[in-house]
């Protein structure tokens, strides 16, 4: 890469990644539906990456992308050339390109994809009967910042026609009752006037009315003059034309526009969004939660104030609480991510799995734009992938077997997401062989996991959950063997740790449906875990100032108190077990202490063992546990162990009051 290009590296990585992700998705889609628009879009992605890589001086990437583009172009001309092996090859090329982009981002050498390039070149030659054209790669002068990254190496010169390309921004009125239909109407009208690109939000979101703040942006390629576009939009009620700007004259080749269009929309996007480190978001949430608590405490203190200043004080606290609540809500919403960020890779995973097993499977995803808290997204990602694998591996039958039971050779998996008020249900459903409740019960009985009486009372849906018990599997292939029990066990635990519910419905021979019923948001806290009297407790890490293991001989005593020397001062030592009123045996020798802040300054808490840090989902204390002083919540650790989260200042306060 020429040195001057380094400043474009960030945008190159971002955009190339987006293009390659889209290309990967579309390749998977292509096998089911080789629509013109899809092939065109794939061509544009390959073309854009080629142009950018060439401009950056990444020769191997540019050549790979060029071969991809060549092959897509050939498919565009003749769909009969398309087959599973060709898609495999294109996917491999996309993966290799992605790896190269990652390598560029991390400033390391990417492996040279010589073997792959050989196959790609061989394929192009075989399909066309001649060697592919050389790829032009920029080695020296970088483009000036005001120009798009790269003039495509092989764009036809002077091929523009009379068409114009317009960037259009619209807003659907907030009062509109059916924004989805309104937006769709606008979309249709503009479609009639020309060709639409860069539609945001995408059409599926528009149709279902998910239009943040009613804002729609798109680019329209049309021969119509500005006035005509204007009146087109003006003739639609509840829609406001915010801006209409000519982008630039379009060229004939669909790909040749892409680099500039893409970087333009990316820069538009950049004005409205910034990337934030997730740790920072966690920090915001934690502190916003602390602020809520602190303002609630202030209200308590206000009760002790003289009447003449209490009113004023309370007004101030009211206002503060309102602001803090609003802030907390906003922080919560900033943590929301669409489930698509997880499910986007599923079509590819399904395809690869199915091909490996010699099965044919269609995955249909709906509702992936529903947004969930980042912590939930992180936690359901692996379980969902596991369930998907389960459906492909075990649920869906071989094509031959399916035809024997008159199902049609292609299996179908539906991944649907539904949102209600404050919960979201993720459903994964296959039309495979289903599960056998009786068999599951029999095995659970045999292993001594349930009694015969319990088995007799158990409903089928309850019986399916037996598959979640560690080690259960039915050997006949009805739910199949390896790992299924263990895996479902992990899925159930992950869902329950988030405060959700996991259910299985199944019909023999018809299919299985997994339902993950989840909360929309969670509070996440980072805890310092400690063992006290064989129990594990957690302290919010924000409250922990330090930890040390100190020999009892190093402590200083005065009358009935003990002190821990810490950073040039002596901290009063409290037995955490004693504060919690838990029975404990006296110990001697070295033991760990946690330094934390009490109402009256730093204190050292003696514990039995430090267990390290863990990020957990905070749950409120169910009644009557909230009456116990010094507990601020409960949580379930990754291991499944329930723990109490301590509020040390309250605990100390209570201790002082008692003595």
């Amino acid at each position: 890469m020429p040195i001057e290009m380094s400043k474009y590296l960030g945008i190159y990585v971002t955009e190339a990644t987006e293009h390659l992700e889209a290309l990967g998705r579309e390749l998977v889609e292509l096998e089911k539906n080789a629509a013109d628009s899809l092939v065109d879009s794939m061509f544009r992605h390959a073309h854009s990456v080629k142009g950018m890589a060439a401009a950056m001086g990444y020769e191997a990437s540019a050549v790979l992308a060029h071969r991809l583009e060549d092959i897509v172009q050939l498919v565009r001309g003749d769909r009969s050339k398309l087959n599973g092996d060709l898609v495999d090859l294109l996917l491999a090329a996309t993966d290799a390109l992605m790896e190269q982009v990652r390598a560029a981002a991390e400033n390391r050498e990417a492996p040279q994809p010589d073997e792959l390039l050989g196959r790609l070149t061989g394929t192009v030659s075989a399909l066309t009967g001649r060697a592919p054209a050389p790829t032009r790669v920029l080695q020296a002068a970088p483009p000036t910042p005001s120009q798009p990254p790269s003039p495509p190496a092989d764009a036809p010169a002077g091929a523009s026609n009379f068409h114009g390309r317009w960037a259009i921004q619209l807003r659907v009125a907030a009062s509109c009752q059916v924004p989805g239909v309104r937006a769709f109407l606008v979309y249709k009208r503009l479609c009639n006037a020309g060709q639409i690109f860069e539609l945001r939000p995408p059409i599926e979101s528009l149709r279902s009315g998910r239009i943040p703040e009613g804002l729609i942006s798109l680019e329209l390629e049309t021969s119509a003059p500005a006035s005509e576009i204007e009146s087109l939009v003006k003739n639609i009620a509840e829609v406001e034309l915010l801006s209409l700007q000519q982008v630039k004259p379009a060229a004939v080749e669909p790909g040749s526009q892409e680099p500039s269009a893409a970087s333009k929309s990316a820069s538009q996007e950049a004005h409205r969004t910034v990337r934030i480190r997730t740790e920072l978001l966690d920090y915001f949430l934690e502190n916003a939660g602390e602020l809520l608590l602190a303002s609630a405490n202030m209200r308590e203190w206000g009760k002790g104030l003289p009447a003449q200043i209490r009113t004023q004080f309370n007004e101030g606290v009211d206002r503060l609480q309102l602001l803090v609540k609003d802030l907390h809500g906003k922080v919560m919403s900033s943590r929301m991510m669409p489930l698509a960020s997880v499910t986007d890779r599923f079509p590819r995973a399904t395809r690869d799995l199915a091909r490996r097993h010699g099965k044919e499977v269609d995955l249909v995803i709906t509702g992936a734009e529903v947004e969930l808290d980042r912590a939930i997204i992180d936690s359901v990602s692996d379980p969902l992938l596991h369930l998907l694998r389960n459906c492909v591996d075990h649920g869906i039958e071989e094509p031959k077997q399916r035809e024997d039971v008159k199902k049609g050779p292609r299996g179908r998996i539906l991944l649907g997401v539904r949102r209600t008020q404050d919960r979201v249900a993720i459903e994964l459903e296959d039309d495979g062989r289903g599960m056998d409740a009786e068999k599951l019960k029999a095995i659970a009985k045999e292993r001594g996991l349930i009694t015969a009486a319990a088995a007799a009372k158990m409903s089928d849906n309850e019986a399916y959950l037996l598959a979640c018990l560690p080690g259960i599997s039915t050997a006949t292939g009805v739910t199949d063997t390896s790992g299924r029990g263990v895996g479902l066990d992990a899925v159930k635990k992950a869902v329950e740790n988030l405060g959700g519910k996991f259910e299985i419905e199944s019909r023999r021979g018809r299919g299985t449906r997994f339902v993950l019923d989840l909360p929309l948001t969670v509070s996440v806290v980072n805890l310092m875990l400690a063992k006290v009297c064989d129990e594990v407790v957690g302290l919010p890490i924000t409250k922990v100032l330090g930890a040390a293991e100190v020999d009892s001989g190093k402590l200083s005593s005065s009358r009935d108190s003990t002190f821990l020397p810490h950073e040039n001062s002596l901290l009063p030592v409290y037995e955490l077990a004693a504060l919690l009123r838990w029975p404990s045996a006296p110990t001697s020798g070295a033991r760990p202490y946690i330094v934390t802040e009490g109402e009256a300054g730093k204190v050292a808490l003696a514990v039995d063992k430090l267990l390290g840090q863990e990020e957990v989902v905070l749950k409120v204390l169910p009644a009557p546990l909230q009456l116990i002083p010094g507990l601020s919540g409960v949580s379930i650790l990754g291991s499944g162990r329930p723990i109490f989260i301590l509020d040390v200042p309250r605990l100390l306060e209570h201790e002082l009051a008692a003595s």
């Binding site: 059916v178 149709r207 003006k234 003739n235 639609i236 009620a237």
Partner: protein
Amino acid sequence: MAKRVLVVDDAIFMRNMIKDIFMSGGLEVVGEASNGLEAVEKYKELKPDLTTMDIVMPFKSGIEATRDIIKENDKAVVVMCSALGQESLVMEAIEAGASDFIVKPFRSDDVLAVVKKVLGEE
């Protein structure tokens, strides 16, 4: 000259309500139809400037009737009368060539705003 309107709905109640709204807005209701078949016939006969079309009707749905009317005249202005929850049907009607839609229960101002816009009177 006042714009001429054909009102299609299987409920007399709805037809009367729409007629009142149109009359208050200075439009002339030149005909009515109570199902899709009748709607297409009346359209051919009256050549109105605007047709309001209910979706769920006997014999022939509003969507099919719209399709037929557009086949007859691709410049025909058909406005769908829909209820909340019929979003996908309305989108289907738009695919079929409907120019716009109004949402029940009708509010006079909203209906007239949509209609005037779609007729290019604003």
